[in-house]
């Protein structure tokens, strides 16, 4: 009986000891760096609105635990944990032998400033519509874009699947002008009130003009006016007008 008690006590003490260990074993797995700037401001959360609660001194060791948006979560040797902006910790990281991985190299080479995504609200053939957009900038003045659109009206719903090119002949500080051409598929699903109507899909081509205006860092406003030609049958086509206003985020 006593042996059993001792075993339990031993196990309990061991568990407590393991729990009480200040994760020093874990720290070995985190990338380590030494502060090279005179000081490093540590915030309580990943944002400039969260207060600075600690300042790490030059030559103090830090462990890089994780990253969220532009912020690193770090742990100091003393056990203090907090968040620092990447710009603050950049020199420290570079001096510590930081190597960019494939995902970061891929980002620098192909994504940074080139990929944009966003959504837009609009009117397609007098129906309210919602669009999800992805744009990839090929050159300064030429971009590739894909559009998924959902329009909903009294006589049914319309889905749009579109790809196209955006040409930006003029770019200013406050706004730029663009032209778009492209094509895709338009699917219509008639409402129940229409008897004998069935779902159909048509090929379409479009051309339009638009503008883009930067609002804040990485976010811009974009408006478009487009004219669609729906190829209903080999001999019949229909023109549809579309207006959209949306937000575009640049990665």
């Amino acid at each position: 009986m006593f042996v059993k008690h001792r075993l339990f006590i031993f196990m309990g003490v061991m568990t407590l000891l393991l729990m009480a260990q200040p994760a020093s074993a874990k720290e070995k797995n985190y990338p380590r760096a030494k502060v090279v700037e005179p000081f490093l401001e540590i915030h309580t959360g990943p944002g400039r609105g969260y207060p600075v609660f600690y300042i790490a001194e030059k030559n103090e060791e830090i462990f890089l635990m994780k990253k969220r948006t532009d912020w690193f979560k770090i742990r100091l040797f003393s056990g203090q944990e907090g968040w620092v902006h990447y710009k603050e910790v950049d020199k420290t990281i570079q001096a510590s032998g930081y190597q960019k991985g494939w995902s970061e190299r891929f980002y620098d080479q192909y994504i940074d400033g080139r990929l944009q995504t966003g959504f837009a609200w609009g009117v397609f053939d007098e129906d309210s519509a919602l669009y999800v957009r992805t744009i990839y900038r090929l050159t300064e003045s030429l971009s590739f874009e894909s559009n998924l659109g959902f329009a909903s009206g009294d006589f049914g719903d319309t889905n749009l699947y579109l790809v196209g090119l955006v040409i930006t002949p003029w770019q200013g500080t406050w706004f730029s002008l663009n032209g778009t051409i492209g094509g895709g598929l338009v699917e219509t699903r008639p409402a129940d009130i229409l008897i004998n109507a069935k779902s159909e899909s048509f090929k379409t081509a479009y051309a339009g003009i638009g503008f883009s205006a930067p609002l804040v860092r990485r976010l811009s406003l974009r408006g478009d006016l487009r004219n669609y030609t729906l190829f209903l049958s080999p001999k019949r086509s229909r023109e549809v007008r579309e207006y959209t206003l949306g937000l575009i985020f640049e990665f």
């Binding site: 990338p31 948006t69 930081y98 991985g101 919602l130 999800v132 909903s152 985020f249 990665f251």
Partner: protein
């Protein structure tokens, strides 16, 4: 003889001075010592070793009140991509139901009592900050606003819907938070026979996880 003694004395004094000068001379670094110490010990590591957490998954539960009709429970899922510390994109999918009991007299006007919606929103962390549980124990928190559009499947018909709302979140750890949100969903409806703009209030509580 006297002169010789004086010369010896002066010579010894000079020797002493020269010795002192040499004794005070700084220790010049040996050739193998680096003149400037490297700024930091180099420990090569790659970016992949740092865990990236910017996707937030939020299951939620609450109420969805249909303008002029009933209020029912709603449950759904929210997926958010945090693009910067301020801005996030999010998508929502929610399921609720509609009942026409409040219309009275056992009258049934809905062809379908299910209500589902999805939307895409842009969100902005308006007031990031902290709450003080005790004098020394704090938790991070944020007040945010969202707005966007989507479709609501209501009375067997999908309707273009605008929504905007505001919410409050408290972070228990850096990867888990809990909060609540109030939002207004607005779409055009003709269920009563007259076209009208509906304003449906939704209130939810949620627990979120960062990945």
């Amino acid at each position: 003889m006297m002169n010789k003694k004086w010369i010896l004395f002066v010579f010894v004094c000079l020797l002493n001075q020269v010795g002192m000068v040499f004794a005070q001379a700084p220790n010049f670094p040996k050739s193998e010592d680096p003149l400037i110490a490297p700024p930091s010990e180099r420990i090569d590591f790659k970016e992949e070793k740092i865990d990236q957490e910017f996707i937030e998954i939020t299951p939620y539960y609450g109420f969805y009140g249909i303008d002029g009709f009933s209020t029912s429970n709603v449950m759904g899922l929210n997926l958010a991509l945090h693009l910067t510390e301020d801005v996030f994109f999010e998508g929502n999918y929610g399921i609720s139901e509609v009942s026409d009991d409040s219309f009275g007299g056992g009258l049934t006007i809905f062809t379908d009592t299910d209500l589902t919606y999805w939307n895409v929103n842009l969100g902005y962390n308006l007031f990031p900050g902290q709450i003080f549980l005790t004098r020394n124990r704090t938790l991070n928190s944020t007040i945010y606003i969202v707005g966007g559009a989507g479709l609501t499947e209501f009375d067997a018909k999908s309707r273009f819907t605008f929504n905007f709302g505001t919410g409050y979140k408290i972070f228990f750890t850096d990867w888990m938070d809990a909060g609540f949100r109030l939002s207004l969903h607005s779409f055009e409806s003709d269920v009563t026979g007259v076209k009208e703009q509906m304003f449906n209030l939704e209130g939810i509580v949620s627990v979120a996880f960062f990945f």
